[in-house]
Amino acid sequence: MAVRDELRQQLELIGAIQPALHLPQNWNYEVDSALFKAYLHPPHDVGGQFDAPGVYEEKEEEQWELNTYVTCEVLGWRGIWNSEERRRRADNDLGYTLYLGIPYYGRWILAAARMLVDKNHVSLTELIEKIAEVKARYAKQ
């Protein structure tokens, strides 16, 4: 098993993707009201923010993205969630690190999984075991 080898690499990556706040902080005793307001700002309200330098590319949807979209729409169609709740979970509740760090539909599918666990449609154990089973099946191919 390569698990132990991967561990060191994971620890370094996790350290590197902590949000860069440019302010020393760790469980502050006091937070002034301006900073508190900034902390509570919903991550998806990006209008007017300074942009990070980036290259924009035209990109077609991939199959997994289309599957994710359909899955999330069907969950809505069946009354499991509504689009505003999906937006809240996929845009806000994941937090800045995930919001800025992973692809658009990656946020959707993570939010859908979390919602299904939150609402007891699937247990987390069940979900974890299923993911492990599918990963093992792919590894054999």
């Binding site: 509570l40 700002h41 919903p42 509504n82 809240r88």
Partner: protein
């Protein structure tokens, strides 16, 4: 516990719309807590009602699957220069949508 499935019977129509097309309104700066659809860049800005759209539940409630009272939604038009002081063109405008709760009247 509120139903997961929004149904018409749990919803009540809003009272008469408070604003009409042409009214001047200011966007409130209510506290952000967990969720909001009201963009920071329009808060505190004064705009003009461009259209009445529909009645719907509030985003902050619908996001947590609450059903309930419907509120009037409006298209509000802002001068770009009122939103971004450095904006170079006088006549450009920006329209966005807002529920009544987030708007307050401006005496002209």
């Amino acid at each position: 516990m509120p139903s997961n499935k929004p149904s018409a019977k749990n919803r009540t129509r809003a009272v008469e719309a408070r604003f009409k097309v042409g009214d001047r309104v200011r966007v409130k700066d209510l506290p952000n807590l967990f969720y909001s659809r009201t963009q920071m860049y329009v808060r505190g800005a004064v705009g003009t009602i461009a259209a009445l759209t529909y009645q719907d539940v509030l985003p902050e409630d619908e996001a947590f699957n609450r059903d309930g009272r419907l509120e009037q939604y409006y298209i509000v038009r802002f001068r770009q220069k009122d939103l971004w002081p450095e904006y170079p063109f006088e006549n450009d405008s920006l329209q966005t949508e807002s529920p009544e709760r987030w708007l307050e009247p401006v005496d002209s």
